[in-house]
């Protein structure tokens, strides 16, 4: 077998990150899908004025800002999970 490139230390937080990643991906996919569907089904709605802008621009900007927010949230939780779960395991191994 060719196998992975490097022997990484076991990451105990992997399942948490994987689960969170999947859910955040689906959440974003729904919001993105909503944008595509609105464009196709009700393009007139995209032209409705929202303050100085319109729905098309607000939704577009929101998709960009939402991606940034989800990314920061994911990193925050993942880093915390890595710190806590990998540290706990290391201490258990040391005690044993």
């Amino acid at each position: 077998m060719h196998g992975p490139s490097s022997k990484w230390k076991k990451d105990n937080s992997a399942s948490v990150k994987e689960l969170l990643g999947k859910w955040l991906f689906f959440l974003y996919a729904i919001v993105y899908g909503g944008f595509i569907i609105t464009n196709v089904v009700s393009p007139e709605f995209m032209g409705v004025e929202v303050g100085s802008l319109n729905v098309a621009i607000v939704y577009g900007f929101l998709l960009i800002v939402f991606a940034m927010l989800l990314a920061f949230a994911y990193n925050h939780v993942s880093t915390h999970a890595e710190d806590v779960m990998n540290k706990d395991k290391e201490s258990e191994e040391t005690e044993e």
Partner: protein
């Protein structure tokens, strides 16, 4: 347009190129091993790699193509910004850490990590090569577009210049120099784009945009039609003589060719107002000459365009300084004069007519001017499917682009891969918000070159002075250099590492593998130069859409299923990559856009009605993987043969 090079622009441009070559030379000394050549030694800091990601990704398509499309078609260009950024969500949440954990130098490593299959090694390498080549075309086209206004050189010279420089960069230092070039370029591009947007706001919008007083906007005139005593129609201005009339069935437009002082010009008939409106034309004569508004190029009779005919209900006015909200509001509540394009045959000559199309600002700021989505305005189900297909390709394509995937191997750990992706999302997201203002800024500032919409952003910069134009153009050129370098490293890795070393089993030493990579770089670079010259004139963002569709179809289904479906087999992966590749390529090559813009078959109906294949080819690729995996799954699996990962990340 007739471009004249400025010495100051040339000095700034050459300084940038020298800096790029200096970085390459500096890192060449530390690039001896295969790991340092293909993966920068895996020691790049995540923050540097994140901005380098942005540098890789904010290619000619993002900077030149999106701004150009926004300047011509309004909001529809911004759809690319949204789709391109959304793709990074797939990269972050699904691909980043597993790719780093499973791979070594190339995307093929990750796909093949659990199988050691010759089939996967070959098809994944072919896919990498093809996606890289399709992505290289728009970069080269963008390079050709840039050197004309900057250095006054023809398109082919720009393509050759990029080709030679990139080959020099890649063959000297590989991924490390590419990373630092991308880091600098990505950072500077965002800073100067921000500057450009502030300049646009501070200038405001005028119905006669005179580029800050530097260049008077050409007043497009009208001629009054009068009915003569004998019932025929003529012109009030007797200095013009009518030569002939054209009628276009599809657009229902009528045009008249007039002659004055031995110069022939084409005018659009506005029956409602009883006037003729000035158009701009390119006439390709049979002897190879091209006439711009009836004159040779050196006469400078082809004008930059882009203005609002009405602001706040007034026809001759200008605003003061604007901000992110009032800029949009001013456009939304006014009328923008856009330009539509029409190709007609005129006695054996090809005539391209650009005619004025005043459009309410509210229409400019919502989808529909390029992509037909509104049934009430004639959008068919096919048009809507095409639109959905494009948005799908952009969403799923990013995480499958070879030059993006190999950047995960330049950082030390999976956590660093994740963090660098987050830096990339923040930087790229900010830039894409700026594209909206740069594109619309070009649309209303009288800077658009109708023969080359890719130049909209650099020409917008030029309207603020030659220094910022030179910096923006040099950055755009460095953008192309960096992206092309990354693509060529990815393609070279596919040839040297995937095909020669692993598939053919040549058991190469580090030194010979690097040498093979460098030779492959030269060959791929030469092919890219030829394609860049052949595809001159096509919108680069549109071309990149194809690369995304192929990547999304050929690579992403296999990546996702390997990570999430434990019954995936090697043969299933091979079937998926091949199906995605063949179906996406086949659908593109038989599409109407390719028939019209690549083969030049105007008026011929293509066999494939849609132009973006992802909506068909991505599901096909998934189906192929599932069916073949089920058919080829061994009934009794020993514990050793089971996929090792209980979790994809761990």
């Amino acid at each position: 347009m007739n471009y004249v090079a400025s010495p100051w622009a040339i000095i700034i441009f050459l300084s940038f190129v020298a800096a790029v070559l200096g970085i390459s030379y500096h890192f060449a000394r530390s690039t001896k091993s295969v790991n340092s050549y293909f993966a920068a030694g895996g020691q790049i800091h995540w923050s540097v790699n994140g901005i380098a990601f942005a540098g890789d990704y904010l290619s000619a398509a993002s900077f030149l193509g999106i701004c150009g499309m926004l300047a011509i078609s309004g909001y529809d260009g911004f759809l690319y910004s949204i789709g391109y950024l959304a793709g990074w969500i797939v990269a972050l949440f699904v691909v980043a850490e597993p790719m780093k954990r499973l791979g070594k130098y190339t995307f093929t490593d990750a796909l093949d990590s659990k199988f050691n299959s010759k089939g996967i090694q070959l098809v994944a390498a072919i896919s990498t090569l093809l996606v890289s080549l399709f992505y290289l075309i728009p970069q080269m086209v963008g390079a050709g577009s840039l050197v004309t206004p900057l250095l006054g050189l023809p398109h082919w010279a720009g393509v050759l210049m990029v080709g030679v420089l990139v080959i020099l960069i890649v063959t000297t230092a590989g991924m490390k120099s590419t990373t630092y070039v991308q880091f600098l370029k990505g950072g500077l591009l965002i800073v100067f784009s921000l500057t450009l947007v502030f300049l646009v706001f501070s200038r405001g919008i005028s119905t006669s945009p005179d580029q800050g007083g530097d260049k008077a906007y050409h007043k497009f005139i009208t001629l009054k039609i009068e009915t003569l005593n004998d019932g025929t129609v003529g012109l009030e201005d007797k200095s013009y003589a009518i030569v002939k009339q054209f009628h276009d069935e599809k657009s229902k437009k009528q045009f008249v060719k007039l002659e004055k002082n031995d110069i022939e010009t084409v005018w659009s008939v506005n029956e409602k107002k009883g006037i003729l409106e000035e158009t701009q034309t390119l006439e390709y004569l049979q002897d190879g000459k091209v006439l711009y508004n009836g004159q040779t190029k050196d006469k400078g009779a082809f004008y930059q365009v882009g203005h609002m005919s009405e602001i706040d209900g007034k026809g001759d006015t200008k605003t003061g300084t604007l901000n992110i909200f009032s800029f949009i509001e001013t456009i939304r509540d006014g009328t923008v004069v856009r330009w539509a394009k029409l190709d007609v045959k005129d006695e054996g000559n090809k005539l391209t007519i650009y005619y004025q199309k005043p459009t309410p600002g509210s229409e400019v700021l919502k989808p529909g001017l390029k992509f037909k989505v509104d049934s009430e305005k004639g959008a068919t189900p096919k048009d809507k499917i095409d639109f959905v297909s494009l948005m799908l390709a952009l969403f799923f394509g990013t995480a499958a682009l070879p030059h993006i995937l190999i950047r995960y191997y330049t950082v030390p750990s999976p956590a660093c891969a994740r963090k660098s992706t987050i830096v990339a999302i923040a930087a790229i997201g900010l830039f894409y918000v700026l594209t909206m203002y740069m594109g619309l800024g070009a649309m209303v500032n009288g800077v658009v070159d109708l023969t080359n919409d890719n130049m909209s952003a650099p020409l917008l910069a030029k309207s603020f002075g030659v220094t910022i134009f030179a910096i923006i153009s040099a950055l755009a050129f460095a953008t192309v250099l960096g992206t092309v370098s990354g693509l060529i490293v990815a393609a070279a890795g596919a040839v040297a590492h995937d095909v020669m070393d692993r598939f053919m089993g040549l058991k190469m030493t580090d030194k010979s593998k690097v040498k093979a990579g460098k030779i492959a770089s030269i060959i791929v670079g030469c092919i890219a130069m030829v394609l860049g010259i052949l595809f001159k004139g096509m919108n680069v963002s549109y071309l990149v859409g194809w690369a995304f569709a192929i990547a999304a179809s050929a690579n992403l289904p296999a990546i996702i299923m390997i990570l999430f479906w434990k019954r995936t087999t090697a043969k299933g992966v091979v079937a998926s990559v091949l199906t995605g590749l063949v179906s996406a390529l086949g659908l593109i090559l038989l599409s109407q856009e390719t028939f019209n813009n690549v083969y030049g078959l105007v008026g011929v109906t293509a066999p494939v009605p849609i132009n973006n294949p992802a909506i068909i080819s991505v599901p096909l690729s998934f189906i192929a993987l599932v069916v073949v995996s089920i058919l080829t799954k061994k009934r009794n699996i020993s514990p050793e043969q089971k996929p090792a990962n209980s979790s994809i990340l761990g």
